[in-house]
């Protein structure tokens, strides 16, 4: 009964109310007609999903056995840090300059310091929140490991440490190795190791 009553009420619409309703309908139809085709083009941008593949990813993994041009990685020393005998190398695959060490410092602070902390003592924030503490770099054992060993640990992980192969490109891994060496030296150096012309800086509170 009530429903009927309301329908009956509609019949007595005034001209103004009718006009208002027509405007609303036009606006709604107009808004439906608004399409965002240019905003959302049928193309793949990074991480845009697709229905075409079962896993929903538009980016496809490399098929097994395929190698992209320039990605053969035939320079074993550079990519593995190991010599032909499978033993870690104690050389760098490229010349270590001040720029390389500074790059290493930058990358170390981004990727390594959360656990190893900025001095390499292994008391980073993530460790303080409960991660298994890594050993300090400043032990006789780690001071004596070859450069290639550190590169291999970054590349493949070691113990509780996950691998960083996906996050850090090989060149940056080597830069980090160089910086770790610099860190180790910095915590185990005598005044006589500092060049005489740089000693004044120490009195002023260190480099930079």
């Amino acid at each position: 009964m009530r429903l009927r009553g309301s329908i009956g009420g509609d019949r007595s619409l005034t001209a103004a109310a009718l006009k208002g309703r027509v405007l609303v309908v036009v606006a709604v139809v107009g808004a439906i007609g608004c399409r965002q085709d240019m905003h959302d083009q049928p193309k793949f941008i990074p991480l845009r999903p697709t229905d075409f593949f079962g896993d929903g990813r538009s980016e496809r993994p490399l098929l097994e056995g395929t190698i992209a041009r320039g990605h053969l990685r035939d320079d074993a020393a550079f990519y593995t840090g190991k010599g032909p005998d499978g033993k870690p190398l104690d050389t760098f695959p490229f010349a270590v300059t001040k720029e390389v060490i500074e790059r290493g410092q930058d990358r170390f602070n981004v990727y390594c310091s959360p656990c190893h902390d900025r001095t390499g003592r292994g008391n980073g924030m993530v460790v303080r929140r409960g991660y298994r503490p890594p050993p300090s770099y400043h032990s006789d054992r780690l001071r004596q490991v070859p450069h290639g060993y550190i590169f291999d640990v970054i590349t493949n992980g070691f113990g509780a440490m996950p691998d960083y192969a996906a996050q850090i490109p090989p060149e940056d891994r080597w830069a980090i190795v160089a910086y770790v060496r610099a860190l180790q030296l910095s915590q185990n150096a005598a005044l006589s190791d500092v060049p005489p012309e740089a000693r004044a800086q120490l009195d002023q509170g260190g480099a930079r």
């Binding site: 959302d40 083009q41 991480l47 999903p49 896993d55 990813r57 929140r129 991660y131 996050q167």
Partner: protein
């Protein structure tokens, strides 16, 4: 013959003509404001995510650098949303029984992607490249705001073309030294305009004519 309209209708006509101008102007203004409002652009609205990831905790609390997860921001147009493996670097041991993080562990076990809700979405007709901005001294914070204070991530700015152009016209007001790119709450060491002008020269930032050319962003 007597006049059809009484004299008083003159006043009525004046008011309606005057009113029409202002009503139209007001409506135009109101629509323009609505179009730029946070309601229309989605700015400052936090999104629900499959895991309530908090930048405030990871960046503000722990102090993890943006690039730890957003690894390609310096080398690619896309800053990278980290794979589940990156989460598991820490969460294999920390909070590794938390029910909140179960979707992360499930994704790691199955290899199925976590499906995050996109927060910053530019229209497809805009070419945007993160690496060039980072390389020329535009900090993360300049566009993304104080991410270190976002419990859930939101889009900080309107991402309207006008907003892009504000900076493309006057980059010196926003550039910072490269070593402070990921710094949150960066305070310039001196006068921003003065430092900015020096950095614009040093980083060889193109002049406003090139930066505001259509094809710089629409190509």
């Amino acid at each position: 013959m007597s006049q059809i309209f009484h004299r008083s209708t003159n006043t009525f006509a004046r008011i309606t003509i005057f009113g029409a101008v202002f009503i139209v102007a007001f409506l135009t203004w109101a629509l323009a404001e609505l179009d730029r409002s946070a309601y229309a652009t989605g700015a400052t609205q936090a999104h629900d995510q499959p895991v309530p990831f908090s930048h405030a905790h990871h960046v503000g609390g722990i102090g993890i650098d943006c690039r730890y997860c957003h690894t390609t921001v310096e080398s690619s147009s896309f800053a990278n949303i980290p794979p589940t493996k990156t989460c598991m670097n820490c969460h294999s041991q920390i909070w590794n029984t938390s029910p909140t993080l179960e979707p992360v562990r499930a994704s790691f076990r199955s290899g199925q992607s976590l499906e995050w809700t996109r927060v910053n979405d530019l229209p497809d007709f805009v070419y945007f490249n993160h690496s060039i901005h980072v390389d020329k001294g535009i900090g993360c914070e300049s566009c993304h705001g104080r991410v270190d204070r976002m419990p859930l991530t939101w889009q900080e700015n309107s991402l309207l073309m006008q907003w892009c152009l504000d900076c493309h016209r006057h980059p010196e007001k926003h550039v910072r030294p490269r070593e402070f790119i990921t710094t949150m709450g960066y305070v310039p060491a001196g006068d921003q305009e003065e430092i900015g002008r020096r950095l614009v020269k040093e980083y060889k930032i193109q002049d406003a004519r090139v930066l505001t050319s259509c094809s710089t962003c629409h190509r």
